[in-house]
Amino acid sequence: MKKIILLAAVALGSLLVALFLGPGKISPVQLGCLLSGSGVEKTILLQIRLPRILAGFIVGAGLSVAGAALQALLRNPLAESYTLGLSGGASLGICLGILLRQTLWLPLFSFCGAMAAMGLVLGLSQRHRFSGATLVLLGVVLNFIFSSFVLFLLAVSRNERFYQAFFWLIGDLSWFPQAALKLAAPVMAGVTVWLFFQSQVLDALSLGEEKAATLGLSLGAVRRNTVVAASLLTGCSVALSGVVGFVGLIVPHLVRIMLGATHRKVLAGSFLLGGAFLVFADGLARVLIRPLEIPVGVITGFFGGLFFLSLLLGQRGRRVW
C-alpha cells in the first residue's frame, strides 16, 4: 500500500515537473504570477502544455494497462500493443480517418484498426500455435505491413499533413487533435476502472485456459472483453500520440518487480507509473536538444529497445518467458 502511494506521488510529481519543461522556460516562482495574469505564457501553459501533459499521461497509462491485460490474456510477458502489432493497426486506422477527414472520430478509427490487428494476431497464433517470442515476431511483421500501408496512403494522397503524419509512425505528442483528447480521456478512464474490477479474472487467465475455466470463468466472454478493452486503450493512445513503442512492456514488468504480480497491483501500478513514465519521457523530448523537440517515440524506442535487449540477454539466468 505504501508503495502504491509512493507511485501516486511520483505520478503527480511528474505532472507538475512537466509543466515547467519546454522550449520557453518557466520557473516555479513565475507560475503563480502567470496563472493570475493573462499573458502569452498563460495561454501557452493552459492551452498547449497542460493538454499535452494530460495526453502524455493518458497515452502512457493506457498503453501500460493494455500491456498488462494483454500479457495476462496471452500469458506472455513480451506482449503489448506495440509488439503485437495493435499499434500498427491503429495507426493505419487513423490514416484512413485523416484521409476521410474525420478528425473528431479518429479514436474510433484507431480502435477499429487495433481490433483488426488483434483479430489477425489471435487468429493466426491460434491456428499456427504461436507462443512466446514467435508471437512477438508475428506482431513485428504485422507492424511492418501496417506501416507500409500507412506510408503508401500518405505518399499517394499527398496530404498537407504528410510530415506530421510521418511522426505518427514514431510516436509524437507535439501535435494532436484536441477533440480526440475529449473522447479518449473518458474512454480510457472507464476501461481502466473496468479492467481493475476484472483483476482477479486476469489473475486466473494467467494460469492457463484449463485452470481458468475450472475456476469458474466463462472463457469466451472473458477473452472477448479483454481484447476489446486492450484495443480501446490502444486505439485511444495511438489517436493521441501515434505509435509509442515498448511502454506497455517496460512498465508492467517494473511494476511486477516493485509491487508483485497480482493484477490488482499490476494494473494500479501500471496506470500510475505508465502515465508518469510517458510524461517524463515527453518532458525529456522537449528539453533534450532545446529549442528543437524530438518525438517522444524516439526516447521510448531507445530505452524500450535497451530494456527488451536486457530481457533477452538476461534470459539465461531467469527465464523471462
Partner: protein
Amino acid sequence: MTEKTDFSRVILSAEEVTGGYGQKTVIDRCSFNLEEGEFLGIIGPNGSGKTTLVRLLTGLLKPFSGRIYYRGRLLSRIPPVELARQVAFLPASVETTFPFTVKEFVALGRLPFSPFWRPPPEGEAVVRESLELVDAAALAEVSVREISEGERQRVFLAQALAQKPRLLVLDEPTAHLDIGHQLSVMDLLRMMNQRQGLTLVCVLHDLNLSADYCERLMLLNEGRIFATGPPEEVLQPEIIEAVYRGRVLRGRSPATGRPHLFGQPRAG
C-alpha cells in the same frame, strides 16, 4: 467385475459419452458411475484418451453425444462458477508466467467463492490450511517461479484444495516428479480421501503407483473402457498385455501387498 452401485451415493455418472476434438472421436461411448468418497485411477496407454476423458468429466470439453451427470444434474447445465465450487481440476500443466507469491497463487483457488471486485474473503484461513496440508507454509512469500518442480506441484495441489472441492480430478499429478515427491503427493491425496472423504479421479501413468493408492482402476484402450475394478482384477498380465502390447510379469509390492507389474525385456 461389476459391483452393486449405490445410486444415492453417485457423484458423477457418464452415459454413453462420446467426445473428441473437431472431427476426431477420442472417447467412444464410455459409461460409468463414480461414487462419493471413491479414489478412482484412470490408466491406459499413450493416446488412449485419458486426458480427453477428464476434460469431458470436468466440463472443459463438450461431449459429441451421451450425457454426464454431476450429482444428478446435467453437467452442461451447471453454471461454471457453481461447478467450480464443488469440482476442482489439476491439469497436466498449470502456467506460472508471472511471479505470484505461493500464497497469492493458492488464494486464486478461492476465486469461485469471491465476488469479482474483491480479493477472496474468508480465504485467508483456507489458504493457510491448504498450504499447511501440502507442507508448503514456509514457501508462502516465495515466487512460484523460484521453487522446485516438486514444490510447484504441491503448490498447484494446494490451489485446487483451496477450492474446497467435493470432487478433485487430477491429470498425471506425479509426472516429472522424483519418487520422494511422487509419494508425498499420493500420500496427501489418500489422506484427503480417507479423512475428509474427498472423491478423487486421478489419471496415472505409473501402473504400480495406481495399484498402491487407488481403490478402483479404469483401464482405457483406444477411447473405450477396457476394464474396470479393483487393482487386483484389472492389473492382470493378460489384460495389460492385450492393451499395452508388451510382456509383463505380476508380483506383489513388499510395501503395500498390492499387485505390481514388471516389464519383461525381450531375450537377446
